[in-house]
Symmetry: C2
Subunit: 475 residues, 2 copies
Amino acid sequence: MDPAEFRRHAHALVDWIATYSEQVERYPVVPRVAPGDVRAALPAHAPALGEPFETVFADFERVLVPALTHWNHPGFLAYFASSASGPGVLGEMLAAVLNQQAMLWKTSPAATELEEVSLGWLRQLVGLPDAFEGVIYDTASMSTLHALAAARERAVPGVRAHGLAAAGRPLAIYCSEHAHSSVDKAAMTLGFGLDSLRKIPADAEYRMRPAALAAAIDADLARGVQPLAVAATIGTTSTTSVDPVNAVAEICAARGVWLHVDAAYAGVAAMVPEVRPLYDGWERADSIVLNPHKWLFTPMDVSVLFCRHMDVLRAAFSLVPDFLKTAEGEAGVRNLMDTGIQLGRRFRSLKLWMVMRDFGVEGMRAVYREHLRLARLFASWVDADARFERVAPVPFSVVCLRLRGAPGQSAADVDALNEQLMDRVNASGEIYLSHTRLDGRFVIRVAIGHYRTERRHVERAWALLQNLSALGSGL
Amino acid sequence: MDPAEFRRHAHALVDWIATYSEQVERYPVVPRVAPGDVRAALPAHAPALGEPFETVFADFERVLVPALTHWNHPGFLAYFASSASGPGVLGEMLAAVLNQQAMLWKTSPAATELEEVSLGWLRQLVGLPDAFEGVIYDTASMSTLHALAAARERAVPGVRAHGLAAAGRPLAIYCSEHAHSSVDKAAMTLGFGLDSLRKIPADAEYRMRPAALAAAIDADLARGVQPLAVAATIGTTSTTSVDPVNAVAEICAARGVWLHVDAAYAGVAAMVPEVRPLYDGWERADSIVLNPHKWLFTPMDVSVLFCRHMDVLRAAFSLVPDFLKTAEGEAGVRNLMDTGIQLGRRFRSLKLWMVMRDFGVEGMRAVYREHLRLARLFASWVDADARFERVAPVPFSVVCLRLRGAPGQSAADVDALNEQLMDRVNASGEIYLSHTRLDGRFVIRVAIGHYRTERRHVERAWALLQNLSALGSGL
């Protein structure tokens, strides 16, 4: 593709992209395709000769667009939203062509230092002290993995050289029964095994019980198990519950246990002063993960780990082969490859920096306040309808609810009724909801988090839930 | 940023991007900034109110552009190149706005199935049998980590639940002394420790010695150490040497050891029939990593792991919490989150698919053939100049060389002379070279891999090396 062709195609693409962004509500949120449809519609082999971009783009429109799940649709109320905001997309466009690989300061001074600057801004905005240094990874799963590896490095002298055998005794990690599965995956990956995970019971509002945590740690200590780390959550995945981080921090401090806080979803909203009390105690953590690609209007992927002990993280991962030794590295300049598994690092801070500048602090706060307001409003609608029950508090922007079912209906039937209702809502194409299970029961989640989601979208979600539940069950 | 503004800014950005791509040779490859320059030139806090994009972009041009290392510059002959080709950038532009998060088939049927289709194409092109299934990760470090985790899963029953304690005996991983540091990082991360790594000596051409490998494995077996995996390399980082994979595969097969092949750089060039013999035996591997973001003209990041035992990889990592259970998952549809640590997955296959279609098979082969030819040509120039020595064979597109130094000069002085020469070349701004150490000596690498690198660029690199070495040493 010569430069003139590239320019022409890129302008055409921008028009498509801008129109797509404006008109995304024309698409069904969840596509109406069956498994295998995409595969079957595409050639089985790469073409021998290059094809005109128009041909490639025609296939994109014909085969791929109808198979997209529209994460940009303001009716996307499933999981946690991710927003491809204008400045975020512009940042990614530049990052793609600049193609920085910021393994070393020297291989991209711009990406290395902008990461530091933009994470400094974010740290201040969410109210964390400057003892926290930030680093960008791709996903929260990786941020949490690195945090727990740092905890291992601190707790097990010699682990880097001798592996887990250096521990000499079993290790344990603690999190609530509502913690994200990334903690489990980290325990598997790092060689602890799932047995090392203590899932601490939660209270009626799905928050870790500190007394149960203290008892579990003390029981482990008594039988010669080494407590390695506690992962507390601010904004759990199912219900956005908030573990009592201050009490947890107290327990960790008294026992010398690493405290990791998973605030992947909710962390960025700490920039809103009136919800800041929900983060009480997180400043005492050893590490905190928050994901701009969830609720900070940046496209996938960008996850931030703030850590009080970046030296420990570096001790766990730094490894500089001859071919990567530079004068700057020896002079103490930060090389991003030293703080993680991945050597290759995209220019992820660019989109984050552009989003923060484009929205401004008050602009970001305004979106959060609207999402928080819409969630409370939605909760009030649920509370006012006797057919539904709201099954969890709404500290942030997610509402958990279910149909109560008729008197005498079995638990399984009520679950099926709720699943059917969710599927009917999703089949509308206007709204996409996902579910969880709480106390064994099927629960529908309404998660508000896309910057384009307005009152009319959550009203529509509620209308669909009401109307489609009145249709009667096909069970 | 409203849609009309986005459209306007995106068009302006496309013009900047297209001009940048056309005129990248106007920039020095390595920027002339000092550590801290970028940080000092940017505000210390996020703005309270949103700023016009023009202001943000002006700072981008003023502060960041002068601090970019231009990986797109055709004079970038350092490390291994990465090309932001036209179709690759177009693919990333679309991926940014579509913002697919392909954790589940349902959350992006298009991204899930296009990954399968495009990796099927790539697998055929590089001549691997269909027993290999592919999966995309961000970087080779992660591909290798996942491969070794799969090896651990197979070799240590119960490791997922009980951790490394389930092994009951020490484990060992084998690679040549020239293997990439990602193998070391995987050994650290997975809890084996660096002690578990056996760095097998290489021969005079920097290839793993199979007899030494067999002896190391057998010695471990004799003393109760469990051999877990061998990582062989096709295209080592320093010299692009090729381990004797067929002989290594024989040794692994006889002892039931997992064979992982690191072909992160060279793997994609297997689509050129005349170099295919260099890959002899790789089809016997259990897993192979190759990185389209190195030599397949796609921007960072996209790394591919081909694995014969995707079921084992899934067994090591699959973990489906309630909130991610879908009917499709239960019906056997592939969910990408099951094959790795990361839950979040960008739409990385889109750029890869667009690149393969835009170039076509013959187009990709033509670029590889030209790079291979230019490297051989460069090697011939070095061989013809008595002041220089070429210190390694050139199986692919990297030439390793050094100044011989004057008779009687100390080894340290000759090293310093070579480092000075490389720094002088890099200071020119026209060419960027990196180094390695071989047998303790400082060696300059000339790595050809950007799709826009032409004969004139490697001629210029050679002229600079010749002219600047004639300047005399400032030592």
